[in-house]
Structure formats: C-alpha cells, structure tokens
Amino acid sequence: MSTSGAGVPLAGLTAGELAERFARGETTAVEVTGAALDRIRATDDLLHAFLTVTDEQALADARAVDEARRRGEPLGPLAGAPLALKDVLVTKGTRTTAGSRILEEFRPPYDATVVARLRRAGVIVVGKTNMDEFAMGSSTENSGFGPTRNPWDPTRVPGGSSGGSAAAVAAGQATLGIGTDTGGSIRQPASLCGIVGVKPTYGLVSRYGLIAFASSLDQVGPLARDVRGAATLLEAIAGHDPRDSTSIPEVPADLTSGLERGVEGMRIGRVAELFPSEGTEPGVLARVNEAVDRLERLGARVEDCSLPSFEYALSAYYLIAPAEASSNLARYDGVRWGLRVKDATDVVDMMQRTRENGFGAEVKRRIMLGTYALSAGYYDAYYGQAQRVRTLVLRDLERAFERFDLLVGPTTPTVAFPLGARVDDPLSMYLSDVFTVPVNLAGNAAVSVPAGLSEGLPVGLQLIAPALGEATMLRAAWAFEQDLGFAERPREIIVDDRVQIAPNGDSPGAIKEVRP
C-alpha cells in the first residue's frame, strides 16, 4: 500500500530486493540513500523516529560504496542499504544521546564495534533513532526528546525501547534497523510495527560502544522488513570482539544459506505460560494460534510444554535490570561527559542536581528501585532471589530444549497501545515485556516475525531457540513468513507534500489532530 510517497518504491524494498537492483545496475547507493532521506523528510515530522539525521555523512558513504562497486571491488550483500541506528551505540563525532537529556550534547570520541562492522559492510547509516531513555521502556515515550509514533496508527506507540528503529523500518525511512534488547526491546517494537526483530544469543554481538543499561542482559540485534534481511544483518554484526570480555569466541554460524530448508520434522514446543488465560488480547491469541497451526501444516511437530519458572521471570527481571542499571548509570555524574548543572556548592551537590535535572522519571524510578534492591539488608531477599529465579529459568529452558528445537508463543500480549495509555502506570507498562524477558534472563536467542493483523494492527509471533540456535530459528521464521505472505503496510495519505499515515479505523481527515 505504501506507494504514494516520494521515494517509497526504493526505501520500501527489502535488503535482498535492494541487493538485486544494485547487482543489475538499476539503482545506486546514492539514489537509494537519497530516497531514504526524502522519506525521512516527508514523514518524520509526524513519526519522530530519528533524533539525528546524518544526511551528509550518509550521502558521502553512499558515494564511496558506488565508487567501490564501479571499480569492481567485492562488496557485501548489504553494501548501499540505508540503516536506522539506535541512538544507544556510540558514533565517533556524531551526537549520541541514549534518549537522555543528560547526554544531549555528547559527541563520542570513538565508534562502537557494531558501527565499525556496519561501515565495513558498506551499510549506510542514515541517522540515530529515538528510544526510551537508556533503553528503559516499552513505548519510546520515555525518551527525553518526545515520543515516536507508530506508522500503522500515529495515535499509538511503536513499542520500545527500540521504537525509533522499528518505526523507521516499518515506514520505509530505512531498509534496516539496529536495536538493543534487554527485556524485549527489539522483539516488542518489531511486533508492534509489523517487522522482523532478532534478539541474538548473549555475547554473539559485541557490546563495545553500547551505552550500558543492564550488562548481563543487553544484546544488540537486527530489525528488518523480512527474515532474510534480519539474518543478513545479524551475520554482518556478529562475531568475537576482544574489546568485549562477554563476547563469545564461537564463530557465528552461517545464518542465510540454509534459510530455505523449511521446518519439516522440526520439533516445536507451545509454551503454556506464554498463552495465559488472562491479559492477552483475543486477536493476538487468534493470530498466534493460527501461526502455530501453520507451522504444523508446514511439517513441524508441535507439542505443548510448560516452563513454570516463566511465571516469575518478569518480577525477577524488574529486580535484576534496575539493579544493574543503578550501577551502570552511576557514571553520569557531571564529571567526564554530559550535562553538569552550574553554581554547585560542592561536588556532591553538583552530582545530585545534575542527575535530578538530566534523568527522566522512568530512569530515576529504576535507579531508585535498583539501589534499594542492592542496599544493605535487602540484597539477598531481592537481588539474590532474582538471580536464583534466573537459574530456574535456565534449567526450565535446558529441559525444554532436550525435547524441542524451538519454542513458540506471542511476542507481546497486545497490539500497539495508544500514546499515554500506560506511561503513568509502570506496572502495566512492564507487562508489555512479560513474554520476552525470560529469554534475556537465560541469554538464548529469539525472533519476532509478523503473524498478521488484529484490529488493523500487527501481531508478532515469537520463536525461541537455545543459545546459538539462530540458524534453526531463522529457518523456521523464514518458512513461516514465506507461507503467510504478510505484505500489509501502513496506510498513507499526502497532505501539504508530507506523507501522513491514516489512523487505524479512522477517516484520513482525523490525522491533522495528531500532528505534533
């Protein structure tokens, strides 16, 4: 449907379609990058997916790719593809905020390893995307710079914390996106925006240059319009990095050449705890149940299973993640980088007021919660217990993967919810992550892939693999995607040369009221 806006035919392609056009000489990286930048200009007043658009650098990088191609140099499969980079990965000389006012003017002196790998692959970074502050949130409303809107319905959230990258890919502002997933922050926005998002095995992708939230949970991963694009991007960014001591030495498996082998004979477990009797929208359940049937029709053997520890995963996560965050965010003290308040009476006064002014409500809430959970007299009751739950989740998953190749369930309990609906109710916001956090606690891999629409909004299917099981997982996701043939795109209209997106179920005229 997204054929009305300027440049959409190019910016709306998958990475694979783009590579074919480059190979046939039908387009150039400069043309594609220009189309993506046009698209950002036409849509981002409304969507606010980007915090910084790096147009000059992007066009220079695109020219370099085109020249390399003309010289006949060997180029990777993603060379010339425009990418939306979550503003939590540091970029040398380019403002990097992590969605926080405390880092509003931060220009890092180095590139993250992921950024260096993207550049080596010839990927064109078109800008840095909006996010919940320090990746804490599930709606992108916790950004210090205002929320991102969902391209399917701009009165709704895109999910979070990687909501900017997900919205950018869904709206055709970029072909690919990079997000980070600490408790679901790639999978949940992918689900809400109708695209593919992978949370890789912990340690598969370097965290060097990733602004830390919860170090034992954070993992960088790809967002794309299709499974092949996500797999190709993951291959480009994965691999051991001596600069990250948690980076795993195993050479990442080939994730793309076996994609088309199908699910015949695959053993898939339908996790009872991911299909609770309450709290999940019927439309989400219907799409996911249809998806499970589809996998079965395609030749997978699906059986029910139970992982009882999943019931405790969310509560454990919301102790572990804030505890690690409270420690990681101690570095924002107004000394080495970022904001510093003026006229402080002494150094402690400077630190306390700098942090009070620079951090938003959710970040303060989590620092408070984490500091409390780690403080004398509470450490074992809260943090220690949460770490024991983590062991139980690991054991449950280990047992399940003796019987199954993959586990399956919804990515998140609801479709995209309205802006403002949960932002003042932390517990209801945290429930967005109830199906995604167990994987972060255990460090294994999972993907969200579009499973159709409910009430006109995308639903995501979550496939969960053991650690380093990405190849099998993406194979199943690809088979599902191909068979379903999900091709829906956000509906659009043009007003005053700006591409706008019709709110779900409403008349296009209602759009003017939601313009920022």
């Binding site: 509560s315 904001l339 255990a442």
Partner: protein, 98 residues
C-alpha cells in the same frame, strides 16, 4: 507500604538524586507497588538453587597484553563539561581549612 518515605530519602541519597518532595511521594507509592509485585519472587522457595549472575558463564577471560591504539588525552577529555590542566575539573571536594 513496604517502603517508607524515609527509605525513599535514604535510597535517593545513596543514588545521588536530589528528588523533589513530589517525586519522593510518587516514588514511595510506585516503588511500593513494584516491590509488592516482587514479593512473589521474594517468597519463592529456592533452597539449594544457586544464583546465576550471568547467562553464559565465562571464567577468566584473558587477552594478550599487547599495546594497541587508544584515545588520546585530548579525545578522552573532549566530552567533559569542564577541563583544567589536562584533567577533569570538578567543584570543591574538601572543605576550606580542612
């Protein structure tokens, strides 16, 4: 409520956050709700279950002790709010005459 206003003030001091009165009230009730939710983790019988601090345990990750490129002093200081004599500058730490 599992957490008192004095607790919230104490934690804010530990976390170096100069919270307003309004924030102290809001966080007292919100943290109490979240900690109520954490009760089910707190009460879970976990006797004999070891804690997991890291999903894929690695022990002693070594690398060769070789010199590689690193940031220059100017680069490292380039992000600081205030710099003096090639050092990070901070407000007074020690009382005068101390």
């Amino acid at each position: 409520m599992p957490i008192s206003r004095a607790d919230v003030q104490h934690v804010a001091r530990l976390a170096r956050l100069a919270l307003t009165d309004e924030e102290l009230d809001r966080f007292q009730s919100q943290l109490s709700l979240i900690l109520d939710e954490a009760e089910k983790v707190k009460r879970l019988p976990t006797g004999g279950v070891p804690p997991t601090s890291h999903p894929l345990p690695r022990v002693n990750v070594w690398r060769d002790d070789t010199v590689g490129p690193c940031l220059t002093r100017e680069e490292a200081l380039s992000t600081a709010p205030e710099v003096e004599q090639d050092r990070f500058m901070v407000p007074r730490i020690i009382e005068e005459g101390a």
